[in-house]
């Protein structure tokens, strides 16, 4: 196809160039009109169902429960004073940061192990390790719940067989927190693995050869070749995962519904409980709005670092 069409370029191109300026301008104008039209569905979708609701959330959060009166920032003030909400802030950060750190670490180890394995087998191993990520999260969380079940827990059975005491997995605050984080790590690690694996493959082999000639050991190669070369991908993957983990709803909702004693609630599940189940939409909107500044803050620093590094590479 490329060969067939590339012939006429030289033949007809002079004619196009020779067109008078006015029609060239019209051509460019027509071009950008079509371009805008093609983007229109995207703009409508994003404006209608993301941007507008986001601003609407800000407006809603300043109303009273019945949405009849404007109450300013008192919803936010009310939330911040509430002990449950202080727990929510702490748990959301604990959940997101711990889970992302573990996902990144285990994903990194897995990617390295995978990188050692020859190409053909790699596909099979990669396929097996991707399974957690492929099953819809809500459904696999149900399975985890069943494994944590207090009366007939598969995990407790193993513990008892090994001579340990049964653990009340979802019944005690800190253990329940641990469980929600575990499920998230289980679910999200494969994503890190495939991103890092792609990154590892993109590091030129010569760099390692040069490093070994200079007498670098395995650890030095890791810290002075692999990690610097992967920094941007690590940053982008961590940012993406941080957003998704921070806003996670499925795991906590299904596993604990925020319990025991609100010790696993995160922003999303608390907003659902307050906004949909208790019918206080303004308070729920105020709760979920706390997510944005935190995410925007993280995104700003990560993306600034990424663009700075890409500029350094480009220079």
């Amino acid at each position: 196809m490329a060969d067939g069409t590339s012939v006429p370029v030289g033949v007809i191109a002079p004619g196009v160039v020779a067109r008078p300026r006015g029609s060239m301008k019209k051509f460019a104008q027509r071009r950008s009109t079509i371009a805008v039209c093609l983007c229109l569905p995207l703009i409508v979708l994003v404006a209608g169902f993301v941007i507008y609701p986001a601003f609407y959330a800000i407006y809603l959060s300043m109303l009273n429960k019945k949405m009849t009166a404007f109450v300013g920032l008192s919803n936010f003030a009310f939330l911040l004073k509430r002990h449950t909400f202080q727990l929510v802030i702490f748990q959301s950060c604990l959940f997101a940061i711990t889970a992302v750190v573990f996902k990144a670490l285990i994903g990194f180890i897995l990617a390295h192990l995978m990188h050692n394995v020859p190409g053909k087998n790699q596909r099979i191993w990669r396929g097996l390790l991707l399974v957690p990520w492929v099953i819809p999260l809500a459904l696999s969380t149900l399975t985890w719940w069943w494994m944590f079940d207090p009366s007939y827990s598969a995990l407790n059975w193993v513990l008892e067989e090994l001579g340990f005491r049964a653990v009340p997995w979802l019944g005690v605050g800190w253990i329940a927190r641990f469980c929600t984080i575990t499920v998230n790590v289980w679910y999200g690690t494969p994503f890190f693995m495939i991103m890092y694996l792609a990154a590892l493959k993109s590091v030129p082999e010569q760099l390692y050869e040069a490093a070994s000639i200079d007498g670098a050991g395995a650890v030095q190669k890791l810290f002075f070749v692999t990690l610097p070369m992967m920094r941007n991908i690590i940053a982008i993957t961590v940012l993406f995962s941080l957003i998704v983990t921070f806003a996670d709803f499925d795991i906590v909702r299904i596993l604990t519904s925020g319990g025991p004693e609100d010790m696993t609630h995160v922003f999303a599940t608390y907003a659902f409980q307050v906004g949909i189940q208790s019918g206080d939409i303004p308070l729920g909107a105020a709760d979920s709005l706390f997510m944005f500044p935190i995410l925007a803050f993280a995104a700003f620093f990560v993306l600034r670092g990424v663009t700075r590094r890409s500029k350094e590479i480009a220079v």
Partner: protein, 298 residues
């Protein structure tokens, strides 16, 4: 091969080489062992899901013996679900919603990506970045104001609201993947097409879509995954079982009060997870390539 030539020349490199070789072999076997351990841990929940789905309710409630193996395998749970009208409805609804979402998302994403990658207009660069930044406003922030918006549109408790909302989750990433693939198509190709008198749409359909097919497959799988497994929107907006989709249907229908029919729940999980697993089994390479292409380039 080269070892034999070395052997003739000098003895020392051989021992060095074979120790290197032995080290490599150890590293390889070590990697296999560690990967094997990880695979076992990672596959515990799906394995347990499958095992439970093959158990009868009597076996589960007897609570005897190891819960990890089936003593009397039965397909009764699967048969119950396949003939259970509600479950059929959930499945059908999910398929309808997913197909429509994928078609809608891909249409929007391809048109926009073509425009952003090739044609450009005032502010198109900002738009391309801005679209991706919409992920900073997650669904769990939007579902409350959207509850009012959907209510205003009269779509509460109708799966059509999902067809409108799921694309917001899928389109930004699909557009990003497609921009990456479209940008990698040589410019000479579309210049040639323009000169031959092709319109922009013709150019898109005759050149860009066929050439960027791997990217389209990757983006399609992404949109499929999103809409097959989404949980928050259907949980918030759907109430009656004739409108529910699989994720919410399984959670709310098969769990009645405190009665957990785990065998049926797990069988439903298996049936609901099958389409994504099959799709990934066949098309994983495209997906992984599409997912990582953008990141490694940027």
């Amino acid at each position: 091969m080269s070892a034999t030539t070395f052997e003739a020349a000098n003895n020392r490199p051989i021992s060095h080489r074979s120790s290197m070789h032995r080290q490599r072999a150890w590293a390889l076997w070590g990697s296999y062992a560690a990967l094997g351990a990880f695979v076992v841990v990672f596959l515990v929940p799906p394995f347990y899901m499958l095992m439970t789905s093959l158990k009868s309710s009597a076996e589960i409630s007897a609570q005897k013996g190891s819960p990890w193996i089936v003593h009397h395998p039965t397909l009764a749970n699967f048969w119950y679900l396949i003939t259970y009208p509600n479950f059929q409805t959930y499945y059908l609804n999910t398929v309808i919603v997913t197909v429509l979402t994928v078609v809608l998302s891909m249409t929007i994403a391809i048109l926009a990506a073509f425009s952003l990658a090739r044609m450009g207009f005032w502010g198109s660069q900002t738009l391309a970045t801005g679209v991706f930044l919409t992920y900073l406003i997650p669904a769990s922030l939007l579902f409350l104001p959207l509850f009012r918006v959907i209510g205003f549109l009269g779509l509460i408790n109708s799966y059509w609201c999902l067809v409108l909302l799921y694309p917001t989750l899928a389109v930004p990433f699909c557009t990003w993947i497609m921009i990456g693939y479209f940008s990698s198509i040589p410019k000479e190709l579309d210049e040639a097409a323009l000169i031959d008198g092709a319109g922009y749409l013709q150019m898109l359909f005759r050149i860009f879509i066929p050439v960027a097919m791997p990217g389209i497959i990757a983006a399609t799988i992404f949109a499929f995954t999103i809409s097959w497994g989404a949980f928050l929107y259907p949980l918030a907006y759907l109430y009656t079982s004739n409108q529910m989709v699989l994720t919410v249907g399984i959670v709310s229908d098969l769990i009645r009060g405190d009665v957990f029919e785990w065998g049926k729940i797990m069988a439903a999980n298996v049936l609901a997870s099958l389409p994504p697993i099959l799709i990934y089994a066949f098309l994983m390479d495209y997906y992984v390539a599409g997912l990582t292409a953008g990141a490694t380039k940027g």
